[in-house]
């Protein structure tokens, strides 16, 4: 077992032990400060009757769909935004404005447009993630050295070849930053959307926990979100970043 893993593991253990001790002191009533054992109970019950599992799966599905659409729209949008002076001076200004808008403000509109459906929440997730991805792609495109572009041109690359073989790969380091940012915005938007909108999901479990004065459920859901955050950061984004760094030898 390597040493860093041992460090991480013991840290987790200490946090849990402190939590148990604090809960054991009974400083606060149980419904305000649940013990680790009570949270564990929520998991066993939630997995046994399937409610927690179902909530997790449907939240991740919304997140996945919304995020995928943000990538499909955000990357080409950033590409055009970075290359076209006209877009920068027109729609670009609008997009920077929209980016400042907290994505949950789209929920009322989404509910009117899509009704009480999955699409409404997915739309909010999309609006949360798409601008970060588009802006990072634009920044990446704009930082491609002029001589790299001229080099490709003088070697006979047409616009499509230039885009696929030079502009996009050169922008990858910047794009991955935007994708990470977009991912965390997507989570935030998803939770905000699910807290307000009635349906099956982690956000709805959170609001149920509040309504039932069931703090252990609230904490259980928070931990699920933290765990998925770690899984995606360590399992997807970090390896992706490392690969890109190696490819470019950025150290």
């Amino acid at each position: 077992m390597n040493r860093r893993f041992a460090t991480k593991f013991s840290f987790l253990f200490v946090v849990l032990a402190l939590w148990q001790v604090l809960a054991g002191l009974q400083l606060w009533p149980n419904y305000l400060f649940p013990s680790p054992a009570e949270v564990l109970e929520v998991y066993t019950a939630g997995i046994a009757d399937g409610t927690l599992l179902e909530a997790t799966v449907s939240s991740l599905a919304r997140l996945g769909v919304g995020y995928a659409i943000s990538l499909l729209v955000g990357v080409p949008l950033g590409l055009i935004w970075g290359r076209s002076r006209l877009v920068q001076d027109t729609v670009g200004v609008l997009m920077i404005g929209l980016q400042a808008l907290p994505s949950i403000t789209w929920l009322p509109i989404a509910l009117l447009w899509f009704g009480l459906s999955e699409m409404a929440v997915i739309f909010v997730v999309f609006m949360g993630a798409v601008w970060a991805i588009a802006i990072a792609t634009r920044d990446g495109i704009q930082s491609v050295p002029a001589n790299s572009i001229r080099s490709a041109r003088t070697l006979g690359a047409n616009s499509l070849f230039l885009t696929i073989q030079v502009l996009l790969p050169a922008s990858l380091p910047s794009m991955i930053t935007g994708m990470k940012l977009g991912w965390s915005f997507a989570w935030r938007s998803l939770m905000a959307g699910e807290l307000l909108y009635y349906g099956v999901g982690l956000g709805q479990r959170l609001s149920q926990g509040r309504e039932l004065n069931d703090m252990s459920l609230v904490v259980a859901v928070m931990i699920i979100i933290i765990v998925f955050g770690l899984i995606f950061e360590r399992g997807v984004f970090q390896p992706l970043e490392r690969r890109i760094r190696e490819q470019f030898n950025l150290g």
């Binding site: 050295p145 001589n147 790299s148 001229r150 080099s151 490709a152 041109r153 003088t154 070697l155 006979g156 690359a157 047409n158 070849f161 073989q165 030079v166 790969p169 050169a170 990858l172 490819q247 470019f248 030898n249």
Partner: protein, 249 residues
């Protein structure tokens, strides 16, 4: 005739003011000729190359490259930069094959051509290497192979050896002469190094700055391959330096 510049002028406007960069440039370059453009910084040498590559258009006058207006694929001119501008996400051989891939040559075939040209510049053993593993001189040789494998009729070189150490530069001067004799491409080579211009060029055009003008053209009738230490080079350098000093005033 490979290149024909007729009464070419170029002005840029910056912050409302117009700056004359090139004025009344007259230049003819024969097929397979090696011409060096020599001058201090600010004399418009790079602008002149950009005109030939089609990245800028003249404010007045005509530019004809290979019988066409510049920048068209049919002009068959490739520009090389001071920084090799290799693509770090591609291997050395894929860098060399970049232009061939743009022409949609199938992969096995372009690998073969790339290998052939890497051989020509002496880097065959590095074909699978990454760009960051190469020295500055090696990068320029890769950039040269990348241009040459398109069999261009014209090579436009913008101070390609300026950021290299003197020893590497000497080596590349020899190599470029050898490659030029083998391929018979027309080369327009921009430099601010007098010796470099005299080692490489059939003719050396001395430019004077603000606005850029061709002050005088020196023919260099010395046998090849030429070397840095050739007495003929030193002798000619004196005359060219004199002209350059005059140009600076």
């Amino acid at each position: 005739m490979s290149i024909h510049l007729q009464n070419v002028s170029k002005a840029f406007s910056s912050r409302g003011a117009s700056v004359q960069v090139l004025e009344h440039i007259e230049l003819e370059v024969q097929r397979a000729e090696f011409v060096c453009l020599l001058g201090p910084s600010g004399c418009g040498k790079s602008t002149l190359l950009n005109l030939l590559a089609g990245f800028e258009s003249p404010s007045s006058g005509t530019v004809i490259v290979n019988g066409r207006s510049p920048g068209q694929p049919a002009a068959r001119a490739v520009l090389l930069f001071q920084d090799a501008t290799l693509f770090p996400w591609l291997s050395v051989e894929d860098n060399v094959a970049f232009g061939l891939a743009a022409q949609q040559m199938p992969k096995p075939q372009r690998r073969r051509v790339a290998a052939e040209y890497l051989e020509l510049v002496g880097l065959h053993d590095f074909r699978r290497a990454k760009v960051y593993q190469l020295s500055g001189g090696m990068r320029q040789r890769v950039a040269l192979a990348r241009a040459l494998c398109l069999k261009p009729e014209i090579l436009l070189m913008d101070e390609p050896f300026a950021s290299l150490d003197a020893m590497t530069r000497d080596l590349l001067h020899e190599e470029l002469q050898r490659i030029w004799l083998a391929t018979k491409a027309t080369i327009v080579f921009v430099t601010h190094n007098v010796r470099e211009a005299l080692i490489l060029g059939d003719r050396v055009a001395v430019l004077r700055p603000r606005p850029g003008r061709i002050q005088r053209v020196f023919p260099v009738d010395l046998p090849r391959p030429r070397h840095f230490e050739d007495p003929g080079i030193a002798e000619l350098a004196r005359g060219v330096l004199h002209e350059l000093r005059k140009a600076a005033h």
